[in-house]
Amino acid sequence: MSALPRVFIVATALLATLTAAAAEPLRIPVLVPITGFLALEGTSQRNGAELALRGSGVDFDVNDTATSPEIAVNAFERALTSGRARDDVIAVVAPMLGTQMLALIPLADEFNVPMVTVSGTARITELGSANVFRFFPGDVVVKAAHARYAVEELGVKRPAVIFQTTAYGQSGRAELDRNLTALGRPAVFAEGLDVSVKDMLPVLSKVRESGADALLLHLHSGPTALVVRQARAMGLDIPIIAGSAMHQPETAALLAPSELAGVCAESGASPISESDPATRAFADAYRTAFDREPDAFALGQYDGVQMLLAAVRAGAKSAADIRAYLASRRYRGLAMTYASDGKGNMAHSAVILCYSGDSRVPVIVKRYENLTGIL
């Protein structure tokens, strides 16, 4: 064979490869816990990501990370190494479960891929990774709002705290303690609960004995509803200011509206409570797509993915481009305005919402904007 045909064959093959590579759409794997004890919140996270990605032209596939770090690590490695070229992956929607995020951070750094998440665990942005971007206010933000609302707005002097013994619960409890102490109102009672605890009377009777004048919760959905119901049943009529699980429509659905009277909660947002047209449109689209009510986790993840897509529209073609965009730009989402604090904390505002006792739709009673001073 003469040199010319050989060059032609090589050139054609090269061209074909390059054309194929150019035709491959960008990819964002969605790794979320849609089974296990965080399935409720994880499903919201998935739905938010999916709603943003549908019709965007960016490929995505959903992988369940359940509740163990090992499953999350396997899902991450599979998403980045199997099938298509790894360069197509411009970012990963990463699980909201803190222990899984802690396991994934070294991998994200090794693969150099930015992760967008709504995990609240404070530590995930304290490890010096340039690849973590959190689109839900972390405990540093929401627990500041939680404690400030109790002390400054309700005039609470003797708060009691019940928290979950999971990593999520411990992280929130530490921030609540710090903020309550800084406000001069340290907790008079604090106890951790395993997620499997059913009867809340023992812990609530100790809250009553402590003389607490308000109860601050940092629990998952089911335990939050159990505490509220049993507190009301035993006549413990002090204000209850719950964690973000209480703002979820599924949590409120477990309780009668009358049981919700006097119950407030912190959250990054409450899409069903907002009246602005853009958030209402999001809520309507969400209901149509998934036949359920949206919550702050869905909205936070939606905003996070929309910022990724904004980066793509602005010309980002690689993981490095996306990372640079997320780290340096300000983005006005539906829930709030996002910008990195240099550690990947993008959300700096929180809301407090309360239930009137007549309805399961809460009213936003206080907005805490830019609590970190980043914006």
Binding site: I34, T35, G36, F37, A39, L40, G42, T43, T165, E191, G192, L193, D194, S196, V197, K198, D199, L201, P202, V203, S205, K206, S221, G222, A225, L226, A233, M234, Q248, E250, T251, A253, L254, R292
Partner: protein
């Protein structure tokens, strides 16, 4: 009065746990291995009640609440069918293999149930209707919820009926014969497969009843099964393998730690102390409080 209130809560919780543990023991007695899908059967009972509520609500005029007692027969039937499915798919085909095979197949069955419920109902906690209405009753300064009293009454009736069947009927004698010596029972003409299927159906129906009772007061999510099977397992270890009376005592002990000990210490400490108690029981009585001496089980 707080002590009496806590005692009542502990008895109600223990009664529901006893139904779970007794169902577990029934299956254990009829086979030689452990049904690890039992926790998911409890969860399935809770979701069966939720599904039946939705189905019946469509037939009734709006605003009519359906009490759990109306749902109970349906829940028992549906979960008995689930028990037959567990037996047919996860036990009978491999009953002659080592016990570990049944561990794996029942665990796999449980995972399928969990994921199936997650896909059908979603991950959110759900509540089943109260058995005989909500509200509380004041008696001598103790506030008892109607549901707590209904749980205790239902458990007493179901456990009493089971004890009657096992002690006073021919079927019960066949059950006990299979539990004590399956080979001899077969030699005497007892149809072992029939008894095994019945045990799975009855045991899983008990789990379903517990699921209905627990799902009103404490809600139910598809992933609750793992915690419930652990409680059943501990109850049976404390009470003694194969002992229905022991399983009831074990279940009550767990509830006592969860409610009573937690009220004077803390919940994490109470949980730790429960496991210390389990170890002590096993040290003093390796077969459990009412353990059967006849044969070793998996």
């Amino acid at each position: 009065m707080l002590g009496a209130q806590l005692a009542l809560n502990a008895v109600a919780l223990g009664a529901a746990y006893a139904l779970v543990a007794i169902g577990f023991v029934l299956v254990l007695n009829a086979t030689t291995a452990v049904n690890f899908a039992h926790g998911e059967s409890v969860v399935a009972g809770g979701f069966a009640a939720v599904a039946l509520t939705g189905a019946l609500a469509m037939l009734l005029p709006a605003g009519n609440a359906i009490p759990g007692i109306v749902l109970l027969p349906g829940v028992l039937l549906l979960t008995a069918l689930l028990g037959l499915a567990i037996a047919a798919l996860a036990y009978l085909p491999i009953r002659n293999r080592p016990p570990v095979s049944v561990f794996v197949t029942t665990i796999a069955f449980g995972i399928i149930v969990t994921n199936g419920l997650n896909a059908a109902f979603g991950a959110a906690p759900r509540a089943a209707p109260a058995l005989l209405g909500t509200g509380t009753i004041e008696f001598l300064g103790v506030t008892a919820s109607r549901q707590s009293l209904a749980i205790i009454a239902t458990a007493v009736v179901l456990i009493g009926a089971l004890a009657f069947v096992l002690q006073r009927t021919q079927l019960g004698r066949q059950f006990r014969a299979c539990a004590q010596d399956p080979e001899m029972a077969r030699a005497l003409g007892i149809r072992l497969t029939r008894i095994t299927l019945l045990a799975f159906a009855l045991g899983t129906a008990f789990a379903g009843a517990a699921g209905l009772l627990l799902a009103h007061q404490f809600f139910v999510t598809p992933s609750d099964g793992a915690g419930l099977i652990l409680k059943a397992y501990i109850a049976v270890v404390i009470g003694g393998w194969g002992s229905l009376r022991g399983a009831t005592i074990g279940a009550m002990l767990i509830a006592f730690f969860e409610v009573g000990v937690a009220s004077i210490s803390s919940q994490p400490l109470a949980e730790g102390l429960l496991y210390v108690a389990v170890l002590l029981v096993l040290l003093v009585r390796p077969d459990g409080i009412f353990g059967e001496p006849q044969r070793l089980r998996a």
